[in-house]
Symmetry: C2
DNA sequence: ATATGTACATTTGTATACATATATACAAAT
DNA sequence: ATTTGTATATATGTATACAAATGTACATAT
């Protein structure tokens, strides 16, 4: 029995991260531990922990007088894609070499759900399973450093305010690209998995940044 | 007057990170907040904050029963170099395009000190200014995401236990490579700066991992 | 008018008390 | 013998009290 405990601090972190990345707070806003603790009905301690994590991700900047919201810009998103373009293929390459049968089943399950919701045209769930596919790859490649590097970058993108305003037809293309990557990984074709992933990231970048 | 405060939590973080990465604690060791606070003579609060940051860097793993030391392996170092090989060139590329005159002066100052201590054969200072050169590049490229991505990777390498056991003659070569990168950046030759940086990372990787 | 010093309000930094979760040992039931 | 339940020790999770630092407003000197 080892259910991972979800602490208040974790919830506060998710909540604040989302609020900032979706633009609910604007760049320059000052968040103070006291006001947040009153607003959210918890003590300063979990608030503080959440703010520290947000600071480490450069989403806010902690100062002696309060936490200044930094947020995320279009340039940041572009930078993230430039970086992912260079290393996410490495994850797929390794995943193709190292994936177990259980890994493949898991990936397939995610892919099936992405297809289901794509046909059903459910943007939230599409986004959810699109994201799950990438996160699964980060784990399957069995490179903790790559996981730790890519995961926060990815999280920023999926919580970015404009992510739902994707081009029409992008969902179907994205699924097709994931399917192709999956096939390459299932076949153990590392080189192709890497190439397809680079192309996928490149296409996703164009879509989210509006060409 | 805005001297950045160095909190106890910051010091504890540095101390623990170094202790773990140099092998003072072994993988599997359990660190408890209470024992650490007694040992270090501070309360649990800053200890706790440091442990949270170490967890976020996957140097330890926080559990309900204590923090388990994960540490860093040769494979992790290899992975870090594989990743840096793919993105650190991007930093140099951008730095070459964006560097100001002040940036160049700063880089040159670091380079001169690296040369000085290389001739003096002072391993600690060589390592220090070698590191400073890279960190400066991360800042000069004006890409916060790249900085945040590369900085923790770099820090793990420089605190790694074997980093001082470099090949003889590596120090002089490393300086020469930095000089070449600097020249390319000073000349605004982004493509060459990127290429030279990739080669430099590749050489450093071979050196630290013993070919 | 400008600069400087100082009190004050507000914030974060730290310590500590209390609440809750987890693992372990061990007794009891099967 | 194995499983199950429970008491207990010990850890983290959270709340709160207090210390230290920072910025602002305002009085004062030049």
């Amino acid at each position: 029995m080892e259910h991972k405990m979800v602490s208040i601090a974790d919830q506060i972190f998710d909540e604040l991260e989302k609020a900032i990345l979706t633009g609910e707070y604007e760049r320059g806003d000052i968040l103070t531990e006291i006001k947040l603790s009153e607003k959210m009905g918890v003590s300063r301690t979990p608030i503080r922990e959440a703010l520290r994590r947000l600071d480490q991700e450069r989403i806010i900047e902690n100062t002696a007088t309060g936490a200044k919201v930094i947020g995320i810009t279009d340039k940041d998103i572009a930078d993230i894609y430039d970086i992912r373009l260079r290393i996410e293929g490495m994850a797929s390459f390794l995943a193709a070499q190292r994936r177990s049968d259980e890994d493949l089943q898991r990936l397939k399950g995610i892919l099936d759900l992405q297809e289901f919701y794509t046909k059903k045209d459910d943007p939230d769930q599409i986004k959810n399973y699109d994201s799950e596919f990438h996160l699964a790859l980060y784990q399957i490649c069995q490179c903790p450093t790559l996981l730790d590097t890519l995961e926060p970058l990815h999280r920023k993108v999926i919580k970015f305010r404009k992510v739902s305003v994707a081009h029409p037809g992008r969902a179907a293309k994205s699924f097709a690209e994931h399917k192709a990557i999956y096939d390459a990984i299932a076949a153990g074709d590392a080189i192709n998995a890497e190439k397809l992933t680079c192309e996928h990231i490149s296409n996703a970048r164009k879509s989210i940044l509006g060409e």
